[in-house]
Subunit: 344 residues, 2 copies
């Protein structure tokens, strides 16, 4: 234990380059000894960001062993799990192993927690070579340790939900929380389209939009299979099939332009379709890490579209608790999550 | 003249790949014959996007002839001026040469206009090999033609301002217009920081923020020279010097976190500093094409920052007229623009 406090945002753990924030760092110090305001978590499971896993999976041609080796190499080199191509990370679940006397997080040794800050800025060390993971899924059994700073966010896992389910929900809890805020900030009866409505963040966003007062909710999915699943979940008014990368087709599928469009699919090229599907004066919320800033900015200008475009911020105060409540209240959403977990 | 109407958003001019919007196209059809709702403009001058010009300038080691050849090759290959690395374009000024009978733009042959949609989606053909340009400035004298679609935006140049000045102003008129909207939407007396406050969009954003009711305006600049210029312009309350790529230094320079931060510098890596400089509940507006979506989204999450982050939309209704009025009313801003033009 170091008796000194660390920087609340983790500057003291940055090894290279000097003076940058942990997320921007090439390399973090993941040594287990704590500063006075830090917490060390014994890691049980990593949940890789979908865009990151997809990139690794594609790069290594679906070879699970190669994907596992790539993740191990990244963490060994960088002291954190940040995919150098996508820039994204994920989250983790584990058990609190030691709490510095100056930690403001309110955690106790033995608490099972999920980190709600990204793996891209969390010092991480892997002890078991990921021996329990076949490299074929985003959910990674893992033994090792991670460090939380003074201003990190970690939620104690609820006793009434299985850990993998709670983890999957909390990983995307920013999307429904921000969707609820945006829809709730408009006049009652807004129309909302969610691109990728059958996915994790998408299904939660649809349910959140309806609870926030949306009068028309449209879930856009790419395949018949996802359409059937989303229809079965009963969480939106309309389910339509379209390739979100085709702006003209996407706008046609949504029909009358909506007040709010939420982009929840992790494929590039959805910006223009989302803009075209949104009415003037409306809002587009981009939650996909595959979003291109330039494509969004230039697309709206090129289409002479007066839409407000939001970068989906993964942090909204109270987002974890609110989203777990949403899952408990919406059996259709819960079923989508459970089916997804069962298929892994 | 083709008697058929084109697609209002230009789909009929896309050669490759089929069915995408013009901005996403690899190649556009820039032939001069018009569809019934199109307008052909005789080009006089291109104004390259700053990020695009900087990339070309750096790639070719400051060799103006090589930069000119690169621009010619891009336009010849793509039928538009879209930098394949940055994805960005710019705008143009010219004289209306022919107006299709079905054009809704309200233009007449002989009008001198600036296009307010990006060059990234404007069919363009260059006739003079850019013989009048030394490749060393963003402002490119040019003879050629460009095509406007039904939903394009073009503004007739004002009679009371020199064309290069009006062009430079209209190129960035989205920034002050959106800044005014965001600041005007908050309680009176907001505090506003503009990163890159001495630049084109930055100086206009500072002036717009003050007119929209901001009580404290902070211009952040990288050098003593820019600080002196901005101080001399008299358009903000505080001028501070900081490297915007250094989050910790930037936040320290701004001091008390502000309600609204506007990012107007075309260098990568400013996302985290802008977030750190903004108070909880505040808004960050990203106007730089060098903005990384992932860095912004993950940065806010990692810093547990409850800030609204906007993708700067270059189109706000009435933005050109409002910004020209701002320039006429603010001699300090006009002087910054004129000094910049004189130095080119």
């Amino acid at each position: 234990m170091n008796s000194a406090r660390g920087s609340a945002i983790g500057l003291h753990r940055v090894l290279e380059p000097h003076g940058v924030l942990p997320q921007a760092a090439l390399r973090l110090d993941a040594r287990p000894a704590l500063y006075a305001d830090e917490v060390r978590v014994r890691v049980q499971r990593l949940n890789l960001d979908a865009a990151s896993f997809r990139q690794l999976w594609t790069e290594h041609g679906g070879d699970g062993d190669a994907v596992r080796s790539a993740v191990l190499a990244i963490v060994a080199t960088r002291g954190k799990m940040q995919n150098p191509v996508t820039g994204s990370g994920g989250m983790l679940v584990g058990v609190v192993e030691e709490v510095g006397p100056g930690s403001p997080l309110g955690l106790s040794v033995g608490d099972q927690v999920a980190t709600l800050v990204s793996l891209t800025l969390t010092p991480l060390w892997i002890a078991d070579g990921l021996a329990g993971w076949d490299g074929r899924s985003e959910q990674v059994p893992c033994d090792g340790h991670a460090i939380l700073f003074g201003r990190s966010i970690a939620a104690v896992l609820p006793a009434d939900l299985p850990a993998p389910l709670a983890l999957a929900v909390m990983d995307v809890c920013g999307a429904p929380a921000l969707t609820a805020r945006v829809v709730g900030g408009r006049a009652p009866g807004a129309s909302v389209a969610v691109i990728g409505g059958a996915g994790k963040s998408g299904s939660l966003a649809l349910a959140a939009a309806r609870r926030a007062g949306a009068a028309r909710t449209v879930g856009v999915v790419p395949t018949d299979r996802e359409a059937a699943a989303l229809t079965g979940a009963g969480i939106c008014d309309e389910v339509v099939i379209a390739d979100a990368r085709d702006p003209v087709a996407l706008a046609a599928a949504v029909g009358t332009p909506v007040d709010v469009t939420v982009v929840c699919v992790d494929v590039p090229g959805c910006e223009h379709g989302a803009i075209l599907a949104t009415k003037d004066g409306g809002t587009v919320v981009f939650f996909s890490m595959a979003t291109s800033f330039a494509a969004a900015a230039l697309g709206a200008e090129g289409l002479a579209a007066d839409v407000t475009m939001l970068v989906g911020n993964g942090y909204v105060p109270g987002h974890a608790a609110a989203t777990l409540d949403l899952l408990r209240a919406e059996p259709g959403v819960r079923r989508l999550f459970e089916d997804r977990l069962a298929a892994q």
